[in-house]
Point group: C2
Chain length 315, copies 2
DNA sequence: TTGATTGATGTTAACGGTAACAGTTTAGTT
DNA sequence: AACTAAACTGTTACCGTTAACATCAATCAA
């Protein structure tokens, strides 16, 4: 391994000059810089991240804290990690995956936290290192997320444009911020059109939505579209309708949220909100590194929703 | 942050003694050890991993190299990473996710490599740090994998026990070692029973298997079981049979391989080989750390297969 | 008694960087 | 020419830990 000193000797300068060429190039004359760059190239010099970290009193570790149970059948976290890792690698930071259990073990320079509940807010606010959340919150913590409200607003609008004349919202029975936002998007659209909102909430399991359709089939009018808060619920609704002989998309519309894997095995495919989790993960990483390196906060980062057209809305 | 020196002062010994208490406790008297432990506890001392790494000339970084394209809809890699991360965290190592592109960036203490092709063997053998592969190979490189041959052998046996009297193998059209092993397991079972083997190979896509059934439906006898090299292929076979009005499991049997997510949405569920990727990932990590820390090789680690019963075999 | 051996502990010098300060050169001013 | 400020470069000490060596006391054989 070649070190600063090797480069310094080769270029006939001091270690410090080499260090400066790397970290504060404006403070070194072009002449010396050229010599140093040349020496670096010839010796194939790569800075030792560990030594750097020791001298700077940093760890170069970012902890990704997944606070909810990891449902490994969903590619969600995988994509998130890929996105984060991509950015961190680029900046020579490394990613440490932690959960509630091993959260405290070892030092780090910053945190990316996902799956936060209300009860976590206080300890998260007490953390001494920069934090970015993945998933919206209403406690003033910086986050990265899809614009949930805009997404359901958009979906509801789309369904109305396609001519469905009733909109029913199928939500997730949870107190989390993203769910409130999704409901709000639906509500706003419906109220702007002077329609009467109808909301139902279930645990995020398809069979619950399916049973709901089954139990209430005679009360459900034709030409209704179901705006669902997740693809799972949307699939349940779809199956329920098909089981009862309903026609999708002719007589009933269904829309989902997430664009992850379930979408791929439904038939017809769900028209849904596609989130680029990888991209959002990268953004998370960049946001956090910015905080760490410059001390500046970019604030929250909200991604505008994309509709992925399947076959559960007309046209 | 409390350091070795703080502990040393508190315990009235030298830094070195404290260091020894941590790394070579047998070389310190019990009396001093007690003092040191007490000081550590009182000061809540945690070793600085960075400084340790610098002094030891190590990086505490393990690279996980995923050489094939990451299909993020499969929980496979997620589980693998979770398993590896679990072990590494325990030993204060951190995991760096790399691909072909950024493989060389930054130093590390060892590699876990998955998705290796034949053309990769030479550079992998040239790596100067310990390596463990995830997935079997025939080039003498240590690996962790399911016993692929035993798995298809077992599945074939199971199908025969259930009374199917013809076994057709549906394999993946690839030259990778695991595929050969899976074929070999089927062949061995069939040959032991003095049956005539029949193998077909396709790309790992369900529609290919589905089309195969469709195209050859009149040639397929009742009471045949299809031993498939993946759940995807098994699902295709299942769909093909159902499309043609065949009865599963009464007249036709189907078995898969992997036990990952697709299995959960098929109907009836595929009887398949379940791999605990998380556990295997942990084993990978432990195997590698062993090599790094003790220089000893545990050799390859082969997991015996588990059958996950679905509804695609009788009984 | 003495010298050699053993075992426990301390001292020193790294590991590869960086910040803070000290020293040198250069150019500008009077 | 002498003085000063600015711009650049070098020196030193330290980040927290460990290996190698030095030291010292206790034990033991001759």
């Amino acid at each position: 391994m070649t070190t600063l000193l090797d480069v310094a000797k080769k270029a006939n300068v001091s270690k410090m000059t080499v260090s400066r060429v790397i970290n504060h190039p404006d403070k070194v004359t072009d002449e010396l810089k050229k010599l140093v760059y040349e020496a670096m190239r010839e010796l194939d010099y790569h800075p030792n991240v560990i030594a750097k970290a020791l001298a700077n009193r940093t760890t170069r570790i970012i902890k990704l804290c997944i606070l909810e149970d990891i449902d490994t059948t969903e590619p969600y976290y995988m994509n998130l990690m890929i996105g984060i890792a991509k950015t961190l690698d680029l900046h020579q930071y490394s990613l440490q995956l932690v959960t509630r259990r091993n959260f405290d073990i070892g030092n780090c320079d910053g945190y990316i936290i996902t799956g936060m509940r209300e009860s976590d807010v206080s300890w998260i606010k007490d953390l001494k290192k920069p934090v970015v959340l993945f998933g919206e919150n209403r406690y003033g913590l910086d986050y990265v997320d899809t614009n949930n409200k805009a997404a359901t607003y958009l979906m509801s609008q789309l369904a109305l444009e396609k001519g469905y004349d009733k909109l029913i919202y199928i939500g997730i029975d949870s107190k989390e911020s993203f769910e409130y936002s999704r409901e709000a998007g639906y509500l706003q659209q419906v109220q702007e059109k002077r329609m009467i909102p109808e909301l139902h909430r279930f645990g995020n399991h398809s069979h619950m939505a399916e049973d709901f359709i089954d139990d209430n089939w005679d009360k459900i009018e034709k030409n209704t579209a179901f705006v669902c808060a997740s693809d799972r619920l949307a699939m349940g609704i779809e199956r329920g309708i098909l089981r009862r002989g309903g026609k999708i998309p002719e007589d009933f519309g269904v829309t989902g949220f997430d664009g992850v894997f379930l979408n791929q095995v439904a038939s017809p495919k769900i028209t849904t909100i596609k989130q680029s989790i990888i991209e959002m993960g990268s953004a998370c990483g960049e946001n956090l590194l910015d905080k760490i390196q410059n001390g500046t906060s970019q604030g929250s980062l909200v991604f505008e929703p994309n509709v992925s057209l399947g076959g559960t809305l007309r046209n």
